[in-house]
């Protein structure tokens, strides 16, 4: 089924991303082409995942897998099929955290298999203006895979194309800014601070593609 995913991304999503977002990218050469690696991005729209998949170099595309909420993306037969076959998500059962389940087990398995994991540490879609509080699951993944590079990515403008709750996408230019890897020094709280700072730095560099 790999060919179906590749075909969907290359033939369908890439032209759509061009039309609806312009798909500008700064720092494309910093995208890792080999796993295990972790991409950490801000989250404001369903456009985010599709945009990141479309700007990824074709040769590494099969390896890129978005971590996504199981309660949302595996709901219903069609959504579930699309999430598994086309997006190839790594499910995170965020509703099972309270029950004490190891919800990051599938993500660790993916990294162990050499995948490039895309994580939105805000945990949900924000308004696209400010970065929300980051959940520290990423730091637990890095602690388990200290050699996996963590690449911060700022997605500017996607919330204007398709904000949370909207049904009609509107073409607006977006910019993807890829940063330098955030180094892991062994301390989880310190790492999350550095990750947040890296994302905010990219945010500051982004063109003013935002509402007035």
């Amino acid at each position: 089924m790999r060919w179906l995913r590749r075909a969907a991304i290359v033939v369908l999503f890439r032209p759509l991303a061009r039309i609806f977002t312009g798909a500008d990218i700064i720092g494309r050469q910093r995208l890792p082409l080999k796993g295990p690696a972790i991409l950490v991005a801000n989250h404001a729209s369903h456009v985010d995942t599709l945009l990141l998949l479309t700007i990824y170099p074709s040769k590494a595309l099969d390896r890129v897998r978005p971590a996504a909420a199981a309660d949302y993306f595996l709901k219903g037969a069609l959504m579930s099929w699309f999430s598994r076959r086309i997006l190839n998500i790594v499910p995170v059962a965020r509703d099972r955290v309270a029950a004490g389940d190891d919800v990051l087990a599938p993500a660790r398995a993916a990294l162990a298999a050499g995948d490039i994991l895309l994580v939105f540490p805000e945990g949900t879609r924000g308004d696209g203006e400010e970065l929300a509080k980051l959940k520290n699951g990423v730091s637990r993944l890095v602690a388990a895979f200290p050699d996996a590079p963590v690449i911060p990515i700022w997605l500017q403008g996607a919330a204007r194309v398709l904000p949370k709750g909207a049904a009609v996408p509107v073409p607006m230019n977006c910019t993807v800014l890829v940063g330098e890897p955030v180094p892991w020094a062994g301390d989880r709280a310190e790492f999350m601070e550095a990750l947040r700072a890296a994302l905010e730095n990219l945010h500051a560099l982004a063109p003013p593609q935002r509402w007035a």
């Binding site: 312009g22 204007r160 904000p163 909207a166 509107v170 230019n173 063109p207 509402w211």
Partner: protein, 321 residues
């Protein structure tokens, strides 16, 4: 092969020679960039090389459309208008409530270019400046947000007039019927508009680099100089005076007016978009064209030269418009 040679034989010879000339100029530019690192080593010529590579792509697209005829030209310019408007509306000060108005603004593009395709010049002339001018602010009122209402309505209209209405005149030129006295056909006339506008940009840049000393608009465009402006004006005016009779029906006063006015319009478009970018706080409007920036960075002068060229041709030499 016979199909290709027959196709080329049907094209106005002046247009083909014009395209050959452009390819020659571009090849010369490639040769110069290959020599520059040897003549003046130590400088970074990546941007210059990127610029020229992008020119190949842009010229290939435009040349293919010119040879294919008015349908292709209209479609190409509709796409250019869309990308330009998207760049503009994405950077301009828009309110969150305007999201669906932005969508409505895009929908004026197929209507506006539809009038070109249907060859209804009168409707084209009034659609954007009169009816969209009234409708979009009304739609904004219906949405109900009055904070910054007037500046936003004006911003929408400015973007639509420049990116869609003004650029559309380039495609409208292609609807001149065969009965017109166009020596190289409508495609030849459009070719001269594109060639003269680009030549003006390049000439201003080159004269500015060679002789530029006195800044002309330091707060808007600090790299522009009086020397570049005057040199570009004289070079482009001479080019139009020489090539005008080959590609347009103009002569005498009409041609002289075009030769003197077009370089001014190109300069005006360039610095006007610079002022817009400075207000917004960006250097480039996007990263679509490597070495150049966005579509608006590339078409800035054309936004102003296209209507002027069209109107001077219509007044001095065309019956249809």
């Amino acid at each position: 092969m016979t199909a290709i040679s027959r196709f080329l034989a049907d094209q106005p010879p002046a247009l083909l020679w014009g395209l050959v000339g452009v390819l020659g100029a571009l090849t010369l530019a490639v040769a110069v960039t290959a020599l520059l690192p040897r003549l003046r080593p130590g400088k970074d010529y990546t941007n210059l090389r990127q610029r020229i590579s992008s020119w190949w792509v842009m010229i290939a697209l435009l040349a293919a459309a010119l040879l294919a005829g008015w349908v292709a030209v209209t479609a190409l310019f509709a796409v250019i208008s869309f990308i330009a408007l998207r760049e503009f509306l994405s950077l301009a000060h828009m309110r969150p409530e305007d999201r669906l108005i932005v969508l409505a603004a895009y929908l004026t593009i197929p209507v506006s270019y539809g009038f070109i395709a249907a060859d209804i010049y009168g409707f084209y002339l009034v659609f954007m400046p009169v009816y969209v001018f009234m409708f979009l602010p009304f739609a904004m009122a219906c949405i109900g947000q009055t904070r910054n209402y007037l500046p936003t309505a004006a911003t929408f209209h400015w973007g639509l007039m420049t990116c869609v209405y003004n650029l559309g005149f380039a495609a409208m030129l292609m609807r001149a019927p065969a009965s017109e006295a166009l020596p190289a056909g409508p495609a030849g006339a459009l070719f001269l508009l594109l060639a003269a506008t680009s030549a003006n940009d390049v000439a201003q840049y080159v004269w500015g680099k060679l002789l530029g000393r006195h800044k002309i608009m330091p707060t808007v465009s600090p790299n522009k100089t009086w020397e570049g402006f005057r040199g570009g004006w004289a070079t482009t005016a001479a080019l139009i005076w020489g090539l005008g009779p080959v590609f347009t029906p103009l002569q005498g006063v009409g041609l002289a007016t075009l030769a003197l006015a077009l370089p001014l319009a190109g300069f005006a478009g360039d610095v006007t978009i610079s002022a817009v970018k400075r207000d917004i706080g960006v250097k480039d409007t996007s990263a679509l064209i490597p070495g150049h920036g966005g579509i608006l960075d590339r078409t800035d002068s054309l936004l102003f030269t296209a209507p002027l060229y069209f109107h001077l041709l219509a007044y001095f030499g065309l019956e249809h418009f």
